[in-house]
Every structure is written in C-alpha cells, then in structure tokens.
Amino acid sequence: MRFSKSLFLLAVAGSGARASSDKTARPRGVAPDFAKYYQDSKTFTCISDPAIQVPFAAVNDDYCDCPDGSDEPGTSACSHLSHKSPLDVADRFGSTDGPVANALPGFYCKNKGHRPAYVPFQRVNDGICDYELCCDGSDEWARVGGTKCEDRCKEIGKKWRKEEEQRQKSMTTALRKKQALLAEAKRLHREIEDQTTRLEAEVKDAEAKVGVLENEVKAVEEAERSKTVRSGGKGKGKVSALVGVAKARVDELRDALLEVRQQRDEAQSRLAELESILSKFKVEYNPNFNDEGVKRAVRSWEDYAARDKTEIVNQARDRDLTEIAKTDSESSGVDWEHWENEDEGCKDTDLIYQVAAYLPPSVVAFIEEKYLAFRSFLETSGFLATTPESNSPTESKAVTKARDALNSQEDILRDLNNKLRDQRTDLETDYGAGGIFRALKGQCISRDAGEYTYEHCFFQETKQISKKGGSSTSMGRFNKVTSTVVEELNDAGDIVLIEKVAIEYDRGQHCWNGPNRSTKVVLECGEDNEILKTAEDEKCVYSMLVTTPAVCPGGEENIVASPSKDEL
C-alpha cells in the first residue's frame, strides 16, 4: 500500500488525472494494449506489483508511486526506473536489489494520421519535439520552457505512407530479384557440376598422355647416354671431353659470379637508399605520435645503425673477383688449351665434378659459397623456385625436346587439376540457403565514404581505394559465410539481439603496426546490392553494411528455374 487515499485528496493532482473522468479516454500516454489497467476510476493497481495500489489521482501526477512505473504512463516521473540508473533504496521502494524495470514500453503517441508509436519516457517533456517517434507532438504536452510541438502527423504520415508504398514496391522487386538469384544460383550450380564432370574426364586423358611422354623421355635419355660415351671416345680422349665439360662449367660459374656481383651491387645501392630513408625517417618522425610500429622501427634502426658493420664489399676481395671474372687465357685463370690437348686417359668420370680442382681452391670455394648462399636465400625467401637437379645443362637437344613435351603436358594436367579442385571447392562452399549467394559471386559494388571508395566484390574481396592517392588496399579476401548478432531497438526502446547473415573476409593487406586487414560484411534485405556504410571498428578491422535481395525473407518457394543447357 502506498500513500493513504485521504492524503491524496489534499495533494495537488496532476493534470493527467483529469482525463480519467472520461470513461472512454485513456490516461495520457497509455496505449490501447494497456488501457485495461486504467479502468478503475478510484484506485490504480500497479501493473507488475498488484499488491501496491494508489488512488487513481496518483496516475500521471508526475510522481513515481509504482515500483514498475505504471502509474506514470504520461510523464517522465518514472523514467529513472531502469537498471541503467544509479538507484538508491528509496528509488527502489525499499528493496535493495533485484531487477528494476518499467512495466510500460514508453509514452504512447497516438499519432493520428500516422502510425502510433512509443517514445521513451526520458524524452517526455524534455523540451524537444521528437517528431520521428511522436509526430503529434504529444510528448511535450507540458510545454516546458515554452516548447510547442505542433501536430505534424498529417505531413509526416503522408510522407511515410509514400515511402512505405515505395518500400512495399521495393520489397516486391527485391523478392522477384531474389527468385531470379535463386534460379541463377541453381543454374550456376548445375553448370559447375557439369564442368566438374567434364574436367574429370579431361584429367584422366591428360594423365594418360603424361604417362606416354614420361616413357618417351626415358627412352631418349637412354639413347643419348650411349651416344655421349661414344662421341667422347672419338676425340682426344676422355680427359679432353671432360675438360670440355669443365670449361663449360667454369664459364657458367663465371657468368654466375658476374650476375651475383651485379645483383649484389644493386642490393648494395638499394640498401644505401633504404638506410638514407631510415636516417631521414628517424629525424623527421613524430615521437609524440604513439605509433608503436614507428617507434619500434626507429629503435631498431638506431640499434642497426649503431652496430659495428662489417664492410659488405671488401675492396681486395672485389679485385680478386674482377680477376676471376676475366675470360681465361694463358696468362690468367685456367689454360684450357693445355688441358684440351692432353691425351692422357682418365677413367675417373667423377672428374667432371672435380673440375673445381682446376681452379684456385679459394676462388672456387668463394664462388660456390656465395652463389649457393644467395640462391638459397632467394629460394627460402620464395623468390626462386627450387630447381630439380636432373635438368642438367649438358642435356642434348633430343632429350630437351622430349622433356619439354613432357613438361608442357604436365602443365596442362596441373592446370586441369587446379580447375577441378577449384570447382569442387566451389561446390562444397556454403553459399547460403539455396546456394543463393553463388549468383552474387564476383559482383562488385562500391561506395564513397570520406577519403576512400570502398568496394565489395561478393565472395572475392573487399577493398579500400584512396581518393587522395588513388591506391587500392585489400581489406580482406573471402573466408566464409557466417552469422552475426546485431543489437537493435524494439518498439519499447529496449535492445534486442537480431541474427544476421555476414560474410567474412580476412587476409587483407597487412596493416602498418596492426593485423592483416579483415572485413565483416553484414547483409540486410534490400532491393539492390548496395553498401550502406563502412566502419573501422578497430585498427584495420572493418565492418560493412550491405543490402542485397538475397537475404530478404521468403521467396524460396516456387522458384522458376531458368532452363540450363542440359535441358535444351
């Protein structure tokens, strides 16, 4: 029991109470759904706390009597009754804990000429006309501070109905588009299935061809080997033949040396350029800008610059190299003439691999080491494919030809296998209900926002194109279709969780001082494929709101599949 009735007769009654004398009229702010609670003209029973009764005069007297706020449907007096407020014991009517909630969803605006709606109690009589919710201006009935909110329902309602009509139309179109998408998706699916079947056959065929060619290569190699041995015997003996091979190898090593030196010089000048960039960077960077990446780079650079640097190009060594790089003659390097004319028999075919013995040992070690080191660096860095050893330079033309044929056939096979794998992956990919997203795959939409144009290519990638520099940055490559929970407001202004379809893109361009860029594209029903907005939720983690008919509800029934090729 709240305050005694007798006292309330003396208390100043709020203006809202007056309306209650009219049986048909509801108290201010009460929706038809709640009208039944306000029938008794003498006593009001708090909706969620029926044990508590107050005189009806306490309804809308701008004082909060009910712990659930139901006695103040037309004022802001109970607007603090929420778990969001710092309530004390008196606010909680004596209880010290437990949830606090208003029994009513809000102030009910009749909005005659438009749709009725609830305005949160905290907006009642705050001096702002909340037309977007309350077009009749009834939320500002007390005219605090002289606020006057005229009834704008006529124009707002008209506008809304026009838009609503447009929305309905749009929704019809969207559904039609969705059906078309479903049909297209179905067709594409079938097409891919067909392609898969076709590819499987082609792969089988190619595999057979590869087998044949492999055998051919073997045969040619066999034939050539015997030929080589024979021609070897024909000249001035094995040694000179080997010398020929050795000479070729030395020439090759020399070429390699030249090239490695050239690459080294290039790297050298790039290093110098880089060092000068970093030196300048160190001077000009802003230490107040808390970019950890920048700071780390500066610190590392300082360490690097301070380190005792061994001279990369040793002048003496370099002179040696110049010497080595000179073409062999009697005076320098190896006197090939001498060896080619050497007639001494040599049975040790391994000599070919000991050709290095003909060179000054330090030189050969140096070249080999440098070459191998550089090569392995390139290989481990992934800039150079590791080469199979078998492809020796001494191969004859016939072998090369046969091998080339095999290689190209192998390429074809690999190609086919890749295509097949792609198609199979595609078939296994989740393209949403009815595979509808398959029809969107590869479609690109874009939107200007701030200094960037954002692009979304369905199931491929998201991109950011700077308007200032024009450069394009990948914000992620397609990963998977998923769902996400979005917080929306219901009619009562409470947060409700809505699940939406989302497409995840990750492995985008790496962020300076951050992760690889990624984007979550959240899909909403709409007539067109359109980016509504893009946001960077945290460093290099983006979200994009995209409309598409593909996620509009309904439309899965009666899909008119367009006839596929097979059916023709």
Binding site: Y63, K84, P86, V89, G94, V144, N286, N288, R299, K539
Partner: protein, 959 residues
C-alpha cells in the same frame, strides 16, 4: 646448375625490412634523455651547488645580501628599499626591493636588479632582446587583490637591525625583516609561519660582461653561464646568467602541497634523495612529455608555482610569480628548536628552495590560516575559476579521432539508442583539411553544419581542436595572415621561427602580442571559420608549446616574443596567452550575443582557471594512471585551477573492461569529465563495452548527471571564493593530522559526499577514512558508518562506487535521466537530507541558465536549504539584479518533487504527512510522508511525496 635471371631486387629490399623489424627490443617509457635533470639545467645546478655550500658552512654561512636601512621607506602599506648583494668589497650589486602589504592579508616581495632595470647592460651576439628582468608576468596573471593595506604599520619597537611591520585585517600578522643578512620572517598571532632566506640560499645572478681569455678570477662554475647545450640544441643566452633563487622555510609544517603539474602524491616528497624521496627538484617547465611516468617530480604540461604548507591549526601559502623554468627543492627536517612547541611530538620544518632561470623575484606570502582562506586570497590575486557553461560539467565523449561527420552522427545516435547521456562530442586534429586549423577536411567532413545541427537537436555540443602551430604553407590564409601581419614568434635572429609539429613545418602565433588577439578573434568568427556553428567550442592543445624538433620538445629559449622578451622569460605563460585569446574570440562570436566560452587547455599557468578547463594530458590505460589521476586532480583544485580532469580510460593503449568501468566510476568525480583515446586504440565508447560493464558505465555516467545540481553549485562556489570543486581530506578536516596525506578519496564541494573510487584491479572492497564522529551513510543503501579517525571497510563490487554522505547535509539532485544535461533544465529536484548529531542539516543550490552572462545581472537562483528544529526551509541567498525577475519567471514551474530524509528520528514512524507553506500561498498544504524501516546497519528513511514547492521560492516544511 641453372640460374634464375629474374632475381627480384625487391627481395633484397624486403629482406632488409624484415631484418630490421626482427631486431625489436621493445620497452616504452618516458624518454628521460629528452628532458633535463637539475644537473643538466645550468642554473638549477648552480643554485643547488650554492645551497650546498651554504648548508656545508652551516651557522658560519652568511648570506651576502643586506638591506640598506638608509634606503628604507614605508608608504601606503609598502616598504621600499635597496637590497645590496656584496659580491666583493668593491662590487656591490644594487637590487631595488619592495614589500607590499596587501589589504587581503597577503604580502608581496619584489626584488629587481638596478642595472638591468635601467638597461645598463650589454647583450651578447648583438641580440636586440629586452635587457630587463621579465616583469610582465603579473600582466597575465594578476587580476586583483593588490590594494595596499591601509592598516599596515611599522612597529616602532623593532629591534636594531630589524624592520617590523604589523599588518592584516586583524593586525595579527607580522613581518620581521632582518637587514643583514637579509631575512624575513612572517608571523601570525606571534607564531612563525614562513621564513625567507633563513637558509641563506638567496641568490640573484647579477649581470656581468663575459670575460674572454679566462680573465675571470671567480671560483664559481661558469661553464653554463654563456651558452648551454642540450641534445643538438645550443642556447645562446645573450644575457648570460640571470637566475633567481630563494629558500622558503615553513617551520613546524610537515606537509606541503601544490605546485602542479606533477604525476605524484598530493603531499609533496623530499627531493634531495633518500628512500622514498626524489633525486631531482620538482620542475615547472611546461612540456609535452610523451608517456609520462608516475611518482615523479618531472615537469608536465602546465605549472602553477603556488605552494601550500599545512599543519594542524595553520595553512599558509607562497606564490612564486615567475614564468621562466623553475625548480623547487623540498627537504623536511626535524625542527632544531621550537620554543612554541608544547607537545612532546617532534615538529618537522619543511625547507623549500625555489630556483628560476630568469625574471625578477616576485613572491606572495599568504598566511591563511585555513585552506579556504588561501583559496580565497590566491583567487583574489589570480582570479577564480570561470563559471562554465552547464554542458561543460557533464560528460564529454572524445576520441582521436571520429573520422567523418557521419561517424559523429552515428556515435551520437548510439548514445541515444543505449540511453547513455552525454553532452559533448570532440574532434581531434584529423577533422582539419591537411592539419590546417579553421578548415574542414572536404572528404571526411563535407557537411560540418549538418553534423552540428544533428547534435544541436538534442542540445549537444561539438568541441574541435585548434592548436597554436600554424601550417607553414603559402596557400593557407591563416599562415599568410600570421606572417604578413607579423604575429608569429621569432627565432633568435629575428626571423619567423619555423619548427615541426602536426602539420609539418609550422609557425607559432605569438599571443603575447596584443595585435594577435583581435586577429585570433577574427579567425573564430562564423564567416572565417566556415562551417562552425554556435554549438562549437574549442580545445587548445600543444600550447606548451609543443615543438617536435625543439629542445625538450618545445621552443628554443632564445626565441623572441613580442616586447623582445625571450621565450626563456615567458615560457610557462605561453599556453595561457593562447587560451586567453581563444576565450576572447569565443566570447562574442556573433555580435551582441555573449556566451560563456568553453576552452580546454593542456598547458596552463596561474590564472588559466579564469578562462579554461584543463586535463592531465596523455595518460595511459593502466591502473597506476587511474590511481594517479586523483591526487593530480585534487592538487590542481587546491592550486586554484579546479576545473580539471584526466582522460577517462587512459589515452594510450587499450584498457581492460574492468579498468575502463572503474575509470568511469572514478572519472565522474573529476570536475572535467571526458573520455578520450589514442588513434591506435580500439573504439571504446561506453555502449560498445559488453555487459555487465556497459550497464556499470551507464550507471556511473547517470550518477554524474543526477548530481549535476550539486556539481554546478560547487562550480559556482569555486567561481566566487576559489574553493576546490573536489576537495582532499586535509582541506575538509584541516585539524585531523591523520588525514593530511590522504589523496585517494575526495569530497564533492561541501555537499558532504565522500567518494573513494576503486583504483586497483580485482578489488571489491575498499577502506574509507572517516575523520569525525558524524554518521556517514552509504549513498545507495544507507548503510551507516561511524567512528572518527579510522578506516571503514566498504563493499565495492564491480558495479558499486564507494560513496558516502556525511550526516548534516542537504544534497540537490535531478533524478530523471535525459539525453543531455541541457534537457534536464526543466526537471524537478529531489533533496536528499542527512541529519547531523544535532539533528540539523544544511545545503545550498545554485542554478542559472547555464549559458549566458545573465547571472551577472541577477539571473540566477541561489538557495540555502536548512533543516533545524524539525523544519526544512529554503532561504534566498541571491543578490537581486536586473535579470532576476525574468529568470525566476522562466523557472517558476520547476519544483521539488521529492524529499528523502535518511535516518530520521524514530518518532517519524507514525508520521504520515508534513505541512508545506510556500511564501505567498494563502494556506498551508499537506504532503504525504512515508517512513521506511531498515535494519542490519542500514538507516531507515522517510520520503515526502510532491511537496511541490518551487525551487526558486522561499518555503518551509514542518515535519
């Protein structure tokens, strides 16, 4: 072997980058090497060395300064004479001295140097700079309180060799001036309070020519006299050595506070080494200190050279008016002899040593005796805090950066969606076109007006950043005007100074130049700052000034300002001059429409409180920084600049959710309540934080809004008598020695609200220290805490803010949550009443339109509520003016909707009504009262429903 001909040279480049990136040795902290220690600051080192010599000699040391008695004269409360520095038998330096005894009870000592004053010196390097010691600080800082005492008299009974002046409103103050060596002792009621040059550290480095070829015979270390190097910068020092130093002793005082800004405890530590002490003096040289460290005497962004010494029964202060780099050493020693000491407890003297690089000596001595007296007297001199616009004391949402105008609108909408109130959204520098202030980025902020209109729809405001560095670019109109009008700071050679800041190459506006003010003013007009609207306000950052490539991240000291003053002379005032100009500019953006400006500043000096709010700069998202924010804010309050706050959440790095929530629970107690975040951090607007923290944060913000009437009243009080808005323990209980060092709990104005924010991780109870034997009530459940001089354990689960109300108060609240504080202005009030031991209570309320200056013409409500002898009354304590009637008319519909009386007499159990009598009403009315019994240590309470008395009316309610 085959070779791959196409060796990608990119690989080499990339591998190098990888290599460099791999050599990481992280570890972030303040760059100590970027800022000077005393040892590295020539004049500090010299003065400390001088002090060491004096100390070493002990009683045989005699300060070489003498007051020539023949020159003394006394007129209009001012003693004048010549202080003489005995350099040698032949060389005596003349130092004109005045001691002004002021009507307020403060005394002011000024010492200048005759030769420099007369311009009788030579500057080196052909420099054209001003030859005088800088004497214009008062022009920027002092606004009043200089009226000479009419009652100050020379005591004819002075001993020989002494001059004795009796002064003060009650003639209870005395200055005993010893002639040789020169010393001054200030007494109140015969008790010594402040002593000058007692240690003999007084040092005024007089002008002397530089002797070439090592002619000098002096034993002094001259290595830092003529030139100083720090980092890659050389200071040319055209006037040579010119520092001033003085020791100030507070006899019997063991606590000194003040001299912000330092990230340290409220009670200042000793600075001459030893366990728990600092190694360096507290430094004041406004600097942009990147990732500043805690528990440090290092300088920060602002400085107020005002120190308070406090002991039981006495609060005294000294205000060292000097704008140059300043260091303060603090040493506490057991008092050698204290004849007045009656107790057995050992007394401690606090010895301070003040050292400034340049300028004249200008010192105010304030003799209290209470902390409130100091606030008032200091405020009379330097001005009180501006009464801010009401929105400015609500919640501010900031981030570096909201990236587009659409982004701003969305954040705005989200606050409404989650029903979290906020008043102001902020734009850091990225809103500008290419970092040119007074412009908008055309791509990201194409529609600034639409954005501001959207904010205005719920009465919200926008604050944008405007900094003093102006991008040095020909096609930028501000840059063109700055240089063509000659309003920029110059380098030592008299050319426009060019330094590096956010926009790259930049020039700095010199607001010391009077001509810069109207120009700066013009830039803020709606037609110049296009796209700005009346709900836009200004944030002045980087005004130390921060110069990325300058020595100690600021300007070279030999830069030249208006009046040919060196930057060295004016450095600490620099930030204030910019803010003054901005304040002027924002005062009347539209002709005839005066509005209270709101300006946030990072750099400040004594006097900045008149025009701005401050924040503690770039803090970090750590528990340590959260904890440090409380003493920092409290210290600013007692130093006369109470409109202070720290970045809620911490600027650098990402706070954990618990830290963020606790920070909001603490941040609502900052007078300036703003959340801010670095550009590299995750978004952390309150609605983004997952439950339960979102609700916890929302409750905290709503609590701030609920208490805004109390906050605004406290702001008003600060604006008329200088009392801090949030107050430390010692300030409220100056007689309770146990509480002097407490700086982790605070009181809101004089509302009796005592908050103790939780600043430790994973901590769910806390101790609140209670000084007196009144009952204290938990704000939320009315649990009773009582017991003087001890700590009481208070539960502090994650969602709870430890908050008590002292018995004896009446706290005004507005309970209806609105979207913004402006929208609360028509809402009714709730009064929360706690009775003291005598069953009495008191509280005040100040209300005005929160926007205009109408309050200066009486357009406000000021009430005193009192509960006494079972009657609650509202008394008018306003002074009527031309605007009173009009304002009261607009507020006539605003009433008191509810009274909550905590712990009423048990006799109220049977009470069901109260009688209400409003002035002017023909008959009394009756309002219902309901008594609620509580047990288990929780106080019972009574609620009065709708007494419906006008907030602007005089009334009484009989219980």
């Amino acid at each position: 072997m085959t070779r791959n001909k196409a060796v990608p040279s990119l690989a080499v480049l990339l591998s190098l980058v990888v290599l460099i990136a791999c050599l990481v040795a992280p570890g972030w902290a303040v760059k100590h090497e970027n800022f000077k220690t005393c040892e590295q600051s020539g004049f500090c080192k010299r003065n400390r060395a001088f002090a060491d010599i004096a100390s070493a000699e002990g009683s045989s040391w005699s300060s070489p300064y003498e007051l020539d008695p023949a020159t003394l004269s006394f007129q209009d409360g001012q003693l004048s004479g010549m202080l003489v520095k005995m350099v040698s038998e032949h060389e005596k330096v003349q130092l004109p001295l005045t001691i002004a005894f002021l009507e307020s009870g403060a005394a002011r000592l000024v010492v200048d140097e005759e030769r420099r004053l007369k311009g009788d010196i030579e500057t080196r390097h052909g420099s054209k700079i001003n030859k005088k010691r800088y004497d214009e600080a008062e022009k920027w800082v002092i606004v009043g309180g200089l009226e000479g005492s009419k009652t100050a008299t020379l005591n004819p009974q002075s001993e020989t060799g002494f001059t004795n002046v009796v002064y003060g409103p009650n003639a209870n103050l005395q200055a005993i001036i010893r002639h040789s060596p020169f010393e001054i002792e200030f007494l109140r009621d015969g008790e010594s309070q402040v002593q000058l040059n007692k240690q003999g550290y007084l040092n005024i480095e007089h002008w002397r020519p530089k002797l070439e070829n090592g002619e000098s015979e002096s034993a002094e270390d001259e290595s830092t006299w003529w030139e100083e190097n720090f980092g890659s910068n050389t200071d040319s020092k055209p006037r040579g050595p010119e520092s001033v130093g003085l020791d100030i002793t507070f006899p019997g005082f063991s606590h000194v506070f003040g001299i912000p800004e330092h990230a340290d405890s409220l009670s200042l530590r000793e600075t001459r080494g030893g366990p728990g002490n600092h190694e360096n003096p507290y430094r004041m040289y406004n600097s942009d200190v990147f990732e500043y460290e805690l528990d440090s005497p290092m300088t920060l962004y602002g400085s107020i050279p005002f120190m308070q010494a406090h002991r039981k029964g006495s609060s005294v202060g000294v205000f060292w008016l000097n704008a140059a780099e300043t260091w303060v050493d603090i040493v506490k020693k057991k008092a050698s002899s204290n004849p007045l000491s009656m107790s057995a407890s050992e007394k401690v003297d606090t010895h301070t040593h003040w050292i400034s690089e340049a300028g004249r000596m200008d010192l105010f001595v304030l003799l209290g005796p209470t902390p409130q007296d100091l606030s008032k007297t200091y405020g009379e001199l330097t001005g009180y805090t501006q009464l801010p616009q009401h929105f400015a004391i609500a919640y501010h949402q900031c981030r570096w950066n909201y990236v587009t105008d659409e982004d701003v609108k969305e954040v705005d909408a989200k606050f409404d969606k989650y029903q979290i109130p906020y008043d102001v959204i902020w734009l850091d520098l990225e809103y500008t076109d290419d970092r040119k202030y007074f412009t908008w980025d055309p791509l990201t902020f194409p529609n600034p007006k639409g954005m501001q209109e959207k904010l205005d729809a719920s009465q919200r405001k926008l604050v944008v950043l405007i900094d003093p560095h102006i991008k040095n670019k020909n096609d930028y109109f501000v840059s063109q005007e700055l240089t063509s009008k000659g309003l920029a700071v110059l380098n030592k050679d008299g050319e426009v100074y060019d330094g590096w800041c956010w926009p790259g190459s930049s020039n700095w506006v010199d607001c010391f130049n009077p001509a810069a003010v109207p120009w700066w003013n013009s830039l803020h007009k709606f037609d110049k700052f296009k796209g700005s609207m009346p709900n836009l306000f200004i944030w002045n950052d980087m005004n130390e000034p921060s110069v990325f490539n300058g020595p100690e991240t600021t300007m070279p000291k030999d830069n030249i300002h208006y009046g040919n003053w060196e930057h060295r002379d004016v450095h600490n005032i620099n930030g204030l001059t910019l803010v003054n100009a901005t304040y002027q500019a924002m005062l009347e953006r539209k002709k005839g429409e005066l509005r209270r400006p709101f300006v946030l500043t990072r750099s400040y000096f004594a006097g900045s409180q008149r025009t701005s709010a401050m924040w503690t700069g770039d803090n970090q998202a750590t528990w340590g920084h959260l904890a440090a924010s409380l003493p920092m804010v409290l210290n600013n309050g007692i130093a006369g600049f109470p409109f202070a706050g720290a970045d809620v959440g911490g600027f650098f790095h990402n706070p954990e959710k618990e830290l963020l929530a606790r920070w909001y629970q603490a941040g609502i107690w900052y007078p300036f309540f703003r959340a801010h975040a670095h550009i590299d951090t995750r978004r952390r607007e309150p609605y983004l934080i997952s439950e339960p923290y979102r609700t916890i944060i929302t409750q905290a913000i709503r609590l701030r809004y609920q208490l805004l009437p109390a906050w605004y009243t406290a702001f008003h009080q600060a604006s008329v008598n200088g009392t801090p808005i949030v107050r430390p323990q010692y300030y409220v209980f100056p007689e309770d020695e146990e509480g002097f060092a407490i700086d982790d709990q605070l009181y809101l104005g004089d509302t009796g609200l005592l908050a103790k924010p939780v600043v430790q991780e994973n901590t769910f109870t806390t101790d609140i220290y209670i000084a007196d034997d009144e009952k204290y009530y938990d704000y939320f459940d009315y649990s009773i805490y009582q017991g003087a001089g001890k700590r009481h354990t208070v539960p502090a689960p994650a969602e709870k803010i430890p908050l008590l109300i002292q018995g004896g108060h009446i706290i005004p609240r507005r309970d209806r949550p609105r979207r913004s504080s402006t929208l609360m202005r028509w809402d009714p009030y709730t009064l929360v009443i706690t009775l003291n031991k005598d069953s009495e209570a008191e509280g005040t309320l100040y209300v005005d339109d929160g926007e205009t200056f109408d309050y200066e013409r009486g357009g406000y409500i000021h009430r005193r509520f009192r509960y006494q002898d079972s009657v609650l009354s509202s008394e008018d304590i306003a002074t009527k003016g031309a605007n009173t009637a009009e304002y009261l008319k607009t507020m006539s519909g605003v009433s008191v909707e509810r009274l909550i009386v905590i712990d009423p007499p048990t006799s109220w159990k049977s009470k069901t009504s109260v009688t209400v009598m409003e002035d002017g009403a023909k008959t009394a009315t009756v309002a219902p009262l309901e008594y609620h019994e509580q047990s288990d240590g929780k106080a019972s309470y009574a609620v009065v429903k709708s007494p419906n008395v006008g907030i602007s009316k005089t009334w009484r309610i009989d219980f």
